[in-house]
């Protein structure tokens, strides 16, 4: 006979305690951060030029990085999901690599490639194109770190779409391009959106690669993460206030993702 009582009530105390440990561990630092805020000075700190510039720069660069990651990642994700071509394992590993390497190392690698003495950077230098220490470098660092998250989520999304549906669309006369946009993408939409949010969130929190490759300069390359670090070195209160901005953005990202997921889940996808 099926027990109708809610699961939580039936869980033993050992299960309850152990399952609460992790949320507690995660919540404690965040709560401590919020409690450290000085409500009166908060607005002042947050509206300071340093904070505002970092906020705006972060929004701009993460937006561009996310859009680019999506634009380049969509066709790749679809290809990886559908075709087992000769180099697909290599490409797969390559895309997953930045996630496993420490971001600072990624930053050094970016310098090796695009820096003045870099593999490609050398040619850029001759053409008068300079990438390091610019906002472009910030976007590049964010993209390198965050795009794998989008590709992975998008790929899983496409894999979940029944290939028979794409075949059916083809036989009905739709070109592969049309099939992609009218069948594959709409059906993978929840996963694609989740991937976008994940990508954006990861770009938001990017620090090591940015510091290494793009440098740290207010208004040009000092993102919220870098601003917090710099502020920490002189004034803890400013640092905490700017950190709270970061927290707010992260929270916003999560809420948007949650809201969208709920809407789609209810509507039946």
């Amino acid at each position: 006979m099926e027990d109708q009582a809610p699961r939580w009530a039936r869980a033993g105390w050992a299960l309850r305690v152990s399952s609460l440990l992790l949320p507690l561990f995660l919540a404690l630092p965040l709560v401590s951060l919020v409690l450290r805020l000085d409500p009166r000075a908060w607005l002042e700190h947050v509206a300071s030029p340093v904070a505002l510039r970092a906020f705006v720069l972060t929004l701009e660069t993460t937006a561009v990085a996310t859009v680019l990651s999506a634009a380049l990642g969509l066709p790749l994700a679809w290809l990886l999901a559908r075709h087992r071509f000769r180099g697909s394992d290599v490409v797969d590993t390559l895309v997953a690599l930045p996630v496993t390497i420490p971001p600072v190392v990624v930053g050094v690698a970016l310098l090796m490639a695009f820096g003045r003495q870099g593999l490609v950077g050398r040619a850029f230098d001759l053409l008068g194109i300079h990438v390091a220490f610019t906002s472009v470098a910030v976007v590049m660092a964010q993209m390198t770190i965050a795009s794998p998250f989008f590709v992975r989520a998008a790929r899983a999304g496409f894999e979940a779409v029944d290939p028979a549906l794409e075949h059916a669309a083809l036989t009905l006369g739709a070109s592969p391009w049309r099939v992609f946009w009218t069948v594959s993408v709409p059906l993978a939409r929840p996963a694609l959106f989740a991937g976008l949010v994940l990508c954006w969130a990861r770009a938001l929190s990017e620090f090591g690669a940015t510091m290494m490759f793009a440098g740290n300069f207010p208004g040009r390359t000092q993102t919220l993460s870098l601003a917090v670090m710099s502020a920490m070195e002189s004034d803890l209160d400013t640092a905490v206030a700017v950190a709270s901005l970061s927290l707010l953005l992260g929270l916003a990202a999560l809420l948007v993702a949650r809201g969208a997921a709920r809407r789609w889940w209810v509507a039946g996808g």
Partner: protein
């Protein structure tokens, strides 16, 4: 051949257990935690090695970073016995907060400009103001960054240089690093055309960078100070190390690394 090889081998094998047997009869080594500015790496390691040899039973553990980072860590409760900064300010702040003894000056340094060895863009100091020159310096809270700011302000007042040139140079700054070694690294990599570092850092980089000295009117003589922290666990040992830092042997060593007395 073979008998000699066996002899050497057996000697090596025997000395192992012999050494550990000796170690076991001694007490466990006392660890002295030293937080020191990034520019003091080579100096402290050398001085530290001497100290460990002269004081068996002690062991030095180093944490090198920007002075401001270390100060914040100590303020937030990090466990350290001795703090050495590239200025007196950070140490004084800890003293005022009741966290440390008064600062003891043990060396001086000099601020210089470095450029990558093969860089054609910056040859003279005035080249720093040329368009599209990339300059890196330490952030405003880092001692090296403050010194650099001081130097630039002095250059601005120098008629041979001028305020306009100072503004141009400041406009060419592309990154504010969190410690002086990061500045050095960017210059060494060729990513920056020039950077403000200590003379001792330039020395440490050897032939990979070229040094441009600051003119006498804009010269910045920096001060390195150290202190033992009130909450030090290994207080007597830390005091001993500080004492050796101020002693003649250390002075000789520092001199050799281009620190100034």
């Amino acid at each position: 051949m073979r008998p000699t090889a066996w002899a050497v081998l057996s000697l090596a094998l025997l000395s192992g257990p012999a050494k550990s047997a000796a170690a076991r009869t001694e007490a466990k080594p006392t660890t002295i935690r030293v937080f020191a500015a990034a520019s003091l790496q080579e100096a402290f390691r050398a001085i530290g090695a001497r100290f460990e040899a002269a004081h068996p039973g002690t062991r030095l553990e180093f944490n090198f970073a920007g002075s401001q980072v270390l100060r914040t860590q100590i303020e937030q409760g990090a466990e350290a016995d001795l703090f050495a900064s590239a200025d007196t300010e950070h140490v004084a702040a800890l003293t005022r907060a009741g966290l440390a003894d008064p600062p003891q000056i043990f060396a001086h340094n000099r601020l210089v400009v470095v450029t990558p060895a093969n860089n054609k863009r910056v040859r003279r100091l005035t080249d720093l103001g040329r368009p599209r020159v990339r300059i890196v310096m330490a952030g405003p809270a880092v001692p090296a960054g403050r010194y650099a700011d001081q130097a630039l302000a002095a250059l601005g007042r120098d008629p041979a240089f001028g305020a306009a040139l100072e503004a141009a140079v400041r406009g060419n700054v592309v990154s504010l690093e969190s410690n002086v070694r990061a500045v050095l690294a960017k210059v060494q990599l060729g990513e920056a055309d020039a950077g403000f570092v200590y003379e001792t850092d330039a020395r440490a980089a050897g032939g990979r960078v070229r040094v441009i000295a600051l003119p006498p009117r804009a010269e910045v003589r920096t001060t390195c100070a150290a202190t033992v922290l009130r909450a030090a666990r290994a207080r007597p040992e830390a005091l001993a190390f500080l004492h050796s830092l101020l002693g003649p042997e250390a002075r000789l060593l520092l001199r050799g690394l281009a620190f100034r007395p």
